[in-house]
Amino acid sequence: QVKQQIAVANAQELLTKMTEKCFKKCIIKPGTSLDSSEQKCVAMCMDRYMDAWNLVSKAYSNRLQRERHRM
């Protein structure tokens, strides 16, 4: 259950960050609705944000391993 709580907290933080970053990148001038190009941009931004998260996560764990070897 602790495990699940952390997974949920992690997903929530990811959703919060993605919403903030992708709103900033994709909604330049807020109109009366999300038009299709804005929707496409948000979907793409979301996929890239998760790609970046995975890359950063791997880069960090690689670095941690290298540091451990050095010690």
Partner: protein, 74 residues
């Protein structure tokens, strides 16, 4: 209408206020150029749309994330 209910409602009010502060922060940066003697119509429209579009983006991302999770679980 007892104490527990009252405390729950007050807690929700606090969360609502925190949410409004966050929206106002984001939409102020998005819509307010130079503060003038009053809020002009363009800024007012921008603030209204900003709140609605931010919620749209948040819903879009949350729903799409749930779909991706479901697909990867199959």
């Amino acid at each position: 209408y007892d104490l527990q209910e009252f405390l729950l409602m007050e807690k929700q009010k606090a969360q609502l206020n925190a949410q409004i502060h966050e929206f106002n922060d984001i939409c102020w940066e998005k819509c307010m150029d130079k503060p003038g003697t009053k809020i002009d119509t363009r800024t007012e429209t921008c603030l209204n749309n900003c709140v609605d579009r931010f919620i749209d983006v948040s819903l879009l991302i949350t729903n799409r994330f749930a779909q991706l999770l479901q697909k990867s679980a199959m």
